[in-house]
Amino acid sequence: MRSAGNNREHSETRYYTPAELMITAAAHEIADGEVVFVGMRLPLLGFQLAKTTHAPNATGVFELGIIRDKPASQPILTMGDLPNLYQAQWLSDTADIMGLLQRGLVDVSFIGGAQVDRYGNLNTTYIGGHENLRTRLPGSGGACDLASLANRHIIIMNHEKRRFVPQVDYITSPGYGQGAGWRESVGLPRGGPSAVITTLGVIRFDPETREMILSAIHPGVTVEGVREHTGWPLKIASNINQTPKPTPEELKILKKFDPDAFWTGP
């Protein structure tokens, strides 16, 4: 996506990609000093970006048994790349990291999604459901644990009608289930999704009903455009605003952490 076209108020005409915009939006969800459970792919960069800009005191925890208080020493594509182990605060067991999560010591976590519904339930396992399986996806990994146990989690995914469905075929990672009170009723100790960062905008959840509400749209995107690509009549926030564009500094940092544009490419 080119932003320049719909970006006249912006002094300079640098390009950014949808991935760069999404990663920047993800980074903005991290507050300084927070404990962040960093997931695969885009969140790896989101954490590095936040850490290098507004959240220098954030701590990153990784499910494979890593805790870091500084960004990786070199660009990485997976959390197991050696620069992510180098000078880590702790190298340990998955169960130790999951214990911190289950105790409620993780403030925020990030999950990628394939199929999501209006209450933020995620399916990354069986498209079509287990009975009428159409597509088998890789599965939960740690996503179910993050969605179950973090104080809040953020979903990052492509915004397409086939992915935004009224009800998911299979709940891999619980959101708000059928709405208010559901998490408590099934025995989840806390948490729930606080935002969905998509290719079109940023969605949050109604504190009462726990249903999705469009909270921000990306530059060049219209509310109607978002509605078209959503499988149910998506609620819209009264005070809807525009997702901030990545600043030149943010783009420079992303380039440093992803020099080959593996994650940030068009």
């Binding site: 695969m40 792919r41 990784f62 499910e63 494979l64 048994g65 890593i66 020493s73 594509l77 997976t78 959390m79 197991g80 790349d81 050696l82 182990l85 180098y86 000078q87 190298l91 340990s92 067991d93 998955t94 169960a95 999951m98 999560l101 289950q102 396992t125 069986y126 287990h130 399986l133 159409r134 597509t135 088998r136 996806l137 890789p138 599965g139 939960s140 990994g141 740690g142 996503a143 179910c144 644990d145 179950s148 146990l149 299979y170 709940i171 891999t172 990672s173 619980p174 289930g177 559901w182 998490r183 099934v186 025995g187 989840l188 100790p189 593996f262």
Partner: protein, 303 residues
């Protein structure tokens, strides 16, 4: 002194991974995945294996594509940097193999239960999820103190856990470093542990740092020397992750014919790990070797 457990990888796999075995591999997630051992399993045409692991990166997909697998008990099966594992996906969609759906936490608890010798462990994860529908090893249990309902995870007792480590002696004492994932519980839970290593060293090297030992040597059934045995996954202290190999594998595994060609070249086409290293080539290995050395501070275990 006990007898030596040093065996060729060929002999170690043929002796300790019979058809029908349940096998843990990839217990450290993205690091130290025992690819050399997995490829030997393929060469020996093992059948009806149950694979157990959190996220196997592409190793499980390779074993499934080669027809070695009857069942998978895992949290995630695919290619970490590209997404889907096509052999896995096809095998599940066509009902060729069974899957027991875990999360990383439930799999860790299942192996910790076995390591501790208890039939289950409780957790708060997966409440309200559909993992309960596709994993018979998850049930409700009520805390006798608080009355809370938790997820009970049934113990998983593997026949063998296969790990790749940096160095081991001939008696099964092994040093491993880096993130450990679920390796500790996977080793303690298994009936036996099979170790492949970058280096075979003297017992004194290992006993100089008993805290670095990954699992007690008396439970290890075999040690096989397999340099570059984790490639293309990274081995702390030895080589970085070979991202290109994972990117290539995506294309080499989308269609069955393509996968057959991959298997013919990278597995059946080589006799052993020496052959694999020749195929890999010195130039590529040089690119992957460490550029920055970072030695650990010394610890004194004297008296």
């Amino acid at each position: 002194m006990p007898n030596s457990k040093l065996l060729s990888l060929k002999l170690a796999i043929s002796r300790f991974v019979p058809d029908g075995s349940s096998v843990v591999m990839g217990s450290a997630q993205e690091t130290l995945i025992p690819f050399a051992a997995g490829h030997e399993v393929i060469r020996q045409r093992k059948r009806d294996l149950t694979l157990i692991g959190p996220i196997s990166d592409i190793l499980f997909d390779q074993l499934i594509g080669a027809g070695c697998v009857r069942k998978v008990r895992a949290a995630w099966v695919g290619n970490v940097i590209t997404g889907s594992g096509y052999n896995f996906r096809h095998a599940i969609e066509s009902g060729l193999i069974e899957i027991e759906d875990h999360s990383n936490l439930t799999l860790s608890m299942a192996l910790r239960a076995a390591a501790l010798g208890v039939p289950f462990l409780p957790t708060h994860t997966a409440r309200g999820s559909d993992l309960f529908k596709t994993n018979p090893g998850l049930k409700d249990v009520t805390c006798p103190f608080t009355g809370q309902v938790l997820t009970a995870v049934a113990a998983i007792n593997p026949d063998v856990t296969i790990i790749h480590v940096q160095r081991a002696d001939e008696y099964g004492n092994a040093h491993s470093w880096g993130n450990t994932g679920i390796t500790r519980e996977a080793c303690l839970a298994a009936e036996r542990v099979l170790v492949t290593c970058e280096e075979v060293v003297s017992p004194e090297v290992i006993s100089s740092d008993p805290n670095r030992v990954i699992t007690p040597g008396f439970r290890v059934c075999a040690v096989a020397h397999a340099p570059w045995g984790a490639h293309p996954s990274p081995a702390p202290g030895h080589y970085n992750r070979d991202h290109q190999a994972f990117l290539d594998y995506r294309d080499e595994s989308i269609r069955p014919q393509a996968f057959a060609a991959w298997q013919a070249r990278w597995v059946d086409g080589v006799e052993d790990q020496a052959g694999y290293m020749t195929l890999l080539g010195e130039e590529r290995m040089a690119q992957l070797r460490l550029k920055v050395n970072a030695p650990s501070a010394e610890a004194n275990f004297g008296y």
